[in-house]
Symmetry: C2
Subunit: 409 residues, 2 copies
Amino acid sequence: MANINENYLNLQGSYLFADIAKKVADYQAAHADADIIRLGIGDVTLPLVPAVIDAMSKAVQEMGKAETFRGYGPEQGYDFLRQAIIDGDYKPLGIKIAPDEVFVSDGAKSDVGNIQELFSEDNIIAITDPVYPVYLDSNVMGGRTGEAVDGIFQKVVYLPTSAENNFSPEFPTEHVDIVYLCSPNNPTGTVLSRTRLAEWINWCKENDVILMFDSAYEAFISTDDTVHSIYEIEGAREVAIEFRSFSKTAGFTGTRCAYAVVPKEITGKTKSGERQALNPMWNRRQCTKFNGVPYIIQRGAEAVYTKEGREQTRTNIAYYKENARIIKEGLESIGLTVYGGVDAPYIWLKTPENMTSWELFDILLEKVQIVSTPGSGFGPHGEGYLRLTSFGSRENTIRAVERIKTLQF
Amino acid sequence: MANINENYLNLQGSYLFADIAKKVADYQAAHADADIIRLGIGDVTLPLVPAVIDAMSKAVQEMGKAETFRGYGPEQGYDFLRQAIIDGDYKPLGIKIAPDEVFVSDGAKSDVGNIQELFSEDNIIAITDPVYPVYLDSNVMGGRTGEAVDGIFQKVVYLPTSAENNFSPEFPTEHVDIVYLCSPNNPTGTVLSRTRLAEWINWCKENDVILMFDSAYEAFISTDDTVHSIYEIEGAREVAIEFRSFSKTAGFTGTRCAYAVVPKEITGKTKSGERQALNPMWNRRQCTKFNGVPYIIQRGAEAVYTKEGREQTRTNIAYYKENARIIKEGLESIGLTVYGGVDAPYIWLKTPENMTSWELFDILLEKVQIVSTPGSGFGPHGEGYLRLTSFGSRENTIRAVERIKTLQF
């Protein structure tokens, strides 16, 4: 009689996007002609850039010829891509990363979920509140959270993150072993300052805490006062694992390529107190349970780092950033309070007049036919906020803002 | 202080292919002109078929245009591929599978490794010996095996599989919860008969055991006396999860697409004895830790099921099967005893004169410059066998057999 992993029973239903979909469907059913604009989902809309398309087209042809066909590739990614990542993302920042510290994968979601397998069940994790749900759910599955009481997991340390603390969470006061930080942040669209991240690294070193640093939205950074990589901070190699993705940088949400950096210095420990390097553990995990990213896709990712690829993807990022500016400034012009939208594709709108997140969601849907994401869906401290994304078309973005401007709050 | 998952420390070094690579490199270094033929590795060599190339080329172009661009797809795979799988692989066998029982993934290796996350640590697993190492290693990582003593894991039930039992393992006599079977088998190249598989299903039902059925080599089956899908056996939906792959069927080892079938009837249980369906658990696992297979790759996999795709991939399979026949009959013609090679791309050679696997490996490398895989690398009961694969070119296969024929045993 096979016993199930009962930790799965502790998972909370992921009702957020289902609830949103149902509300939108109900509204559409009742208003067949409604011209609904969707600014709720964090998915890109611009097509892949020509440099990527050309590289993948070429790679497809290679796979059709005996002389250039590729079978199993290295589980960790081809050297050509690992080197392109180092040369493109780290060397310009003065950061030294070895090729065997870069692990190419099918997604940052996979990586941030799977990485928890390297740790025992008794570790205490800290997450920000609000948060990207995968950090939490993968640890629920791994038995690291206990049960949820009123939606709050008993063994998890929540770090409130809101306008009150300028979206920069305090250090945990309880004992924690692993902290997840995302900057630029999903869902708040804000960044942690360079100074604050240096404090985090020091704090992690002093308290022997591992930092899971998710910088999937790095390409959207405008400000100078943050980092593009956590390894810009001295000492980060000893405590931080960095997660990056081509999803938002290059529109790869349906193309699937990402990478994790696991420096050789970073260690966990055994119960008897011995240090164990995580890099060979992750290598073993990936070699045992993963067979690499398709060759065709890796050639596409490599092309992001060519001169043409860089220019073309920058143009796309600039397009989304201009959308973000339009939303931010438009909402501010009618007296709304808005965070994010400068270094990230997300706008984090404070609900006016102490409305709940869902109350404002309903108003936007019913009065101006705009779909958003209620902040409370990302955690208790997301209550009173609403997430809008800049991934729509320019036209729809402008129309959405004009519609919101007609509202009286 | 983050504690590591100490189960990783129980993993045995995966020295097999590293040891082989070192022996070959040493030989090559000492014999610079040696014309080495590699029949050791289970990787395909024929390029992807035109139908697949055309479909992926088209999909790449779609990704470059706004009207046809695809962002996030369903984590479980696109409906077009799930339906093609059902129509192509199951309907012709008279098997009813629902689309939401098919989970498209990046590889059978990923699936057979990740599926163990659904089960608690206290389950007892049974594996054949010899065995594909991923079944074992993923369970070592999950804490289900205990420590290894002389290479044997203390909590694992090993099912010896050799010529003595006609490569059809006995049922476990100890208590087990989960059994892994692979038919056609890697590494032995043999299949389990339809009758025996029906007995296995009955045994699993009677003993409330879950069967992990790996049929990655299904496309190589010639005999009538086995199944292409475990669901050809009545009652299998209640106890069996099936793993399939495009890797060997359509040369996708570097292209990455596979699928698992998790029927809605199959259940595990909680400690309090309640039945829990595994289908929604696997759905949740995939939705949380995976973001689907690239759209381009799924279109390639779909094309395997077109009329052209079927004919072209069948031609490739026939090519490898003819290689297998050449090896098998060639070795038999000099009095060697050979198993497999009829329903699988693997030939399982009994070492002559009670040689060890490594002794015969050394003779083949040093005397006739052929790289093989020692059977002992797949488990203790692989000792005295050697695996050869039919994935080489026709020319090299013929040359390899001619060389072996010159040996005196």
